[in-house]
């Protein structure tokens, strides 16, 4: 990010950037991605303690002596790594959009 080079100080600059089309686009794309994924991972995460506390469904065998509780626990790791990589990929696009905002912000001065 070339942020250090742009020289934006006054409040009105921030307001004009905040209302610019480029910035609004960045925000709405971020929201569309971050809000649903955050809701998903909280649900997935709390499903494990809720299921282990209020049912015995996860005590059934998956393979040999390994029960579904351990499988679900391991899936939490897979989910975390997977969503980490997904975020990195999406964030590359957010960086592009943010750069556009920064460039246009510079022009406005």
């Amino acid at each position: 990010m070339e942020a250090q080079k742009t020289n934006i100080n006054s409040e009105s600059d921030y307001t004009s950037i905040a209302h610019s089309a480029a910035f609004q686009k960045l925000l709405s794309e971020k929201k569309k991605f971050i809000i649903p994924v955050t809701i998903f991972f909280f649900c997935f995460y709390f499903a494990l303690p809720i299921l282990t506390s209020y049912s015995t469904i996860l005590n059934h065998k998956f393979f040999g002596s390994i029960t579904w509780a351990w499988v679900f626990a391991f899936l939490q790791f897979v989910m975390t790594w997977g969503l980490c990589m997904l975020y990195s990929k999406k964030a590359a696009r957010f960086d592009e959009l943010a750069n556009e905002v920064v460039e246009q912000g510079g022009h406005n001065e």
Binding site: K30, C84, Y87, A91, V102
Partner: protein
């Protein structure tokens, strides 16, 4: 005295002091002292985050918890890892873009009010000291067992080392001690895991089969519900685990050691891989200890199971592996306490002294010198408290730190970044209510009151039924922030929020 262990402990002390010597040459100004000049790369900071995070409570505590309670112990591993999604998705990048040296800087980027900075700094110091007492008590017990030194001497050794790293080497020394510790811890844990797996004929299914008969719990070892029998207690624990990390000041300051949000992001990704692989391996540590050391021997060494990992190393690899793993545990404690001292000292010197007392006008030299004195002060307070806390359960102090972080810090962080109407009254309410409810509920919880003598600090019936306060205190923190905001007569400063929104999303105006 265990000679190989003594030599390896000495080796770690020497290596870390050499690092500190080189780091001290670079530590010339406040920025170098607090954040290593913001010059760490993504992988360096990722390793340092991992080194800062995988504390003695993780390494010794979770291995013991899995060994003694099976699946229920593994809840900690899951929660501690998934917590990084909260950090990555909601906190890391805005934090880097808004803050400079401390977590309070970020709140101050939106609200230029001294009392808010003061409360944020106070929470930072409180959380860091709770956390540090836990690590020091663990360190004292470990060194006492391994080297035969008494508890007071052991705590003093760790206390002096952590102070030396921080006052001479600042964030440079702290970061490199954490990076080296992360490598040692991953190496040691991997070695044990491989040997354990070999002993089960390289078969995960055989390992699970054998665990059904290896412990006094028999088949229920593999099922949830051994330790956490009350549903809401389990959920409360998990809430604290998953939401606490994103409010822990010593983790948050690590994001100021990189140059921009992009590097902050990549450091979380590296950290998540390292931490995740480590927590998967806690299964092998726990199962291995239960199978090859045995329940009674683990409990005999320490009722909470804290010696399970070193005892496992001895059982499967003899004295050399035992010495190595013990030295790794020692390095683990040093790296974590150094990070905590630095964080608490930054809150004193940067927030209280420079920003509040001197109105941001202290010279670089004054700032660094105040930070060094603050580090000495924080260390002395922690050492004194740790000496008095020898008999306290360390896991309880760590869970308290997580609960305060999730209840008092996280609501303010989230509202500051994302909520337009949020104001100073809401921020103060959230921090005060979060802190008081988390600490207050712990004081009336089963950790402090137990009907059975010797199980807790006092004999009596706990008023609050759950072992962790999260399920009540975290929502209270968020609700207090909300109510404080809407009942206050202050108008929302939309312009300031727009500035924060632009800065946090684009990095414009970033302070390097």
């Amino acid at each position: 005295m265990n000679t190989p262990a003594f030599i390896m402990f000495l080796g770690i002390v020497l290596v870390t002091l050499v690092i500190t010597y080189y780091a001290s040459k670079k530590t010339k100004n406040a920025s170098e002292f607090y954040t290593a000049g913001g010059g760490l790369t993504g992988w360096q900071n990722g390793m340092a985050i991992a080194g800062d995070y995988m504390s003695a409570a993780s390494f010794l505590g979770i291995a013991g918890a899995v060994a003694l309670t099976g699946f229920d112990g593994f809840f900690y591993s899951i929660g501690f890892l998934v917590a990084y999604l909260v950090v990555l998705y909601l906190v890391a990048e805005p934090l880097r873009n808004l803050g400079k040296y401390t977590f309070a800087d970020m709140i101050a980027a939106r609200f230029d009010a001294k009392k808010i900075r003061g409360f944020a700094a106070m929470n930072t110091v409180a959380i860091s000291i709770f956390y540090m007492i836990a690590q020091l008590v663990g360190a004292g017990a470990l060194i006492k067992l391994l080297l035969g030194l008494n508890y007071t001497t052991s705590v003093l050794i760790v206390g002096v080392l952590m102070t030396v790293y921080v006052i001479f080497g600042g964030m440079h020394a702290t970061s490199w001690v954490q990076i080296i510790k992360a490598i040692l811890l991953m190496g040691g844990t991997f070695l044990i895991s491989i040997i354990v797996l070999a002993k089960f004929n390289w078969s995960i299914t055989e390992m699970f089969d054998q665990m059904k008969t290896a412990t006094p719990l028999k088949e229920s070892f593999l099922n949830p519900g051994v330790k956490y029998k009350i549903g809401l207690d389990t959920i409360s624990l998990n809430m604290g685990l998953v939401l606490g990390t994103a409010g822990l000041p010593h983790i948050l300051v690590r994001f100021f050691t990189v140059k921009d949000a992009k590097t902050a992001r990549s450091s979380v990704v590296y950290a998540t891989w390292i931490i995740g692989i480590f927590y998967v391996m806690t299964i092998f540590l726990g199962f291995g200890a239960a199978a090859f050391v045995g329940n009674s021997e683990i409990v005999a060494a320490n009722p909470a199971g804290n010696m399970a990992a070193p005892l496992l190393a001895k059982a499967i690899g003899g004295d050399m592996l035992f010495a190595f793993i013990s030295a790794v545990a020692f390095a683990t404690i040093l790296a974590v306490v150094a990070g905590l001292v630095l964080t608490a000292a930054s809150a004193f010197a940067h927030d209280f002294y420079n920003e509040i007392l001197r109105k941001g006008k202290a010279s670089e030299k004054q700032q660094v010198s105040m930070a060094r004195w603050a580090a000495i002060g924080v260390s002395i307070i922690s050492i004194i408290l740790a000496l008095g806390a020898q008999t306290l359960n360390v896991a309880f102090l760590v869970s308290l730190a997580f609960a305060v972080a999730a209840s008092a810090n996280l609501p303010v962080i989230i509202y500051t970044i994302y909520w337009k109407r949020f104001n100073t009254t809401g921020a103060v309410w959230a921090m005060v209510v979060g802190l008081i409810s988390a600490v207050g509920l712990v004081l009336i919880s089963p950790n402090v009151f137990s009907p059975e003598a010797g199980k807790a600090i006092f004999v009596g019936n706990p008023i609050f039924p759950y072992t962790t306060p999260g399920i009540v205190s975290i929502p209270l923190g968020f609700i207090a922030g909300y109510l404080g905001t809407i009942f206050s007569s202050q108008k929302a400063d939309v312009k300031k929020f727009e500035e924060v929104l632009v800065k946090s999303n684009t990095g414009i105006g970033i302070k390097g």
